[in-house]
């Protein structure tokens, strides 16, 4: 089902529930994988994903279609992850530097590789770092990134490729690859 069709259903009181269901069915896996990559357990990811969809339901009437629907939902999901991390850091004293490595670790499943990747990525120029994280970790398409960052897809591709090459070089120098 297209986003337009889902939105039409979701914005009508009589078909709202059906619209929401289609929305969840269409995007749950993608948003789950985005959120799961940023937290350390399935339970946390489930909690964040539920909160994300509840927020989406509540605010869908305010969606103006200026960006892709997924891009709009991505922002909500990212905010929910940040809120969760704030609550998490209030509940437990977390070493934030190690927390970043934990997140990368969740992606790569190897302690050293994850730590090295995080270190190298952190050392990249700001734009390359952001583009790499959005593309590699969050799996956003170049089109979505272009919408969010107000840059051309070509420029984003170039940034991402530069970032990957730099990481590769660093890894080779450290004999990680």
């Amino acid at each position: 089902m297209t986003d337009e069709a889902i939105l039409t259903l979701a914005n009508h009181p009589r078909t709202q529930e059906e619209g929401f269901k289609h929305l969840v069915l269409k995007y749950q896996q993608r948003l789950y994988s985005l959120v799961r990559g940023k937290v350390s357990s399935h339970e946390d990811a489930d909690d964040i994903l539920q909160n994300t969809f509840i927020k989406i339901f509540r605010h869908i009437k305010g969606y103006e279609g200026r960006s892709e629907l997924f891009t709009w939902m991505y922002r909500i999901a990212c905010n929910e992850v940040i809120n969760h991390q704030k609550r998490f850091s209030k509940m437990k004293t977390v070493d934030l530097e190690n927390h970043d490595i934990l997140l990368a670790d969740a992606y790569l499943n190897t302690d050293n590789l994850a730590a090295s990747l995080e270190t190298v990525v952190t050392g990249l120029p700001e734009r390359q770092q952001m583009v790499f994280r959005m593309r590699y970790f969050d799996e956003l398409s170049y089109k979505q990134m272009a919408e969010m960052l107000q840059l051309t897809e070509g420029a984003l591709k170039a940034s991402f490729h530069h970032a990957v090459r730099k990481i590769e070089e660093e890894f080779r120098a450290k004999q990680i690859l």
Partner: protein, 144 residues
């Protein structure tokens, strides 16, 4: 997902040796039950009355500011002498002092003047000189 959008495919093309991202499959059947779970939660939350969280700190701050404004306003308006002092002309002020001179009497305590005079260390020649100047060179004795 289109091939150009798949990050793993893109990584294979541009950096074949790059570590392949792991995936996090949720528990089996999670995506089958999730839509109903989230919809049920939404329906439940929507049917419940909105519970407003009381922020005590905010309430106390607002109350303190309001009390300050009320007390300040009352004090300001209860003291008419403080109102419109800038609009009084010198003539009106003089007239007021003249008509209410009794109220200013405490300011002219003779005892105070005597004390001030006692502390003055001005030679009598200087006083005479001053009086001559002030009276256009006439003899100061004539003044008394």
């Amino acid at each position: 997902m289109a091939q150009e959008e798949d990050i793993n495919e893109e990584m294979k093309e541009i950096a074949p040796g790059f570590p392949v991202k792991g995936s996090f499959p949720p528990p089996a059947g999670y995506f089958e039950t999730f839509p109903d779970e989230v919809l049920n939660r939404w329906k439940k939350e929507e049917s419940q009355p909105v519970v407003r969280i009381i922020h005590w700190k905010r309430i106390i701050t607002i109350a303190a500011v309001l009390s300050g404004l009320i007390i300040g306003g009352w004090w300001f308006f209860a003291n008419p002498t403080l109102v419109n002092t800038n609009d009084i002309t010198a003539v009106e002020a003089y007239q007021y002092i003249h008509e209410n001179i009794d109220e200013f009497e405490p300011l002219f305590e003779t005892a105070d003047i005597e004390i001030i005079e006692g502390n003055l260390d001005i030679p009598s020649e200087a006083v005479e000189e001053y009086l001559i100047e002030e009276t256009n060179s006439s003899d100061p004795e004539d003044l008394f």
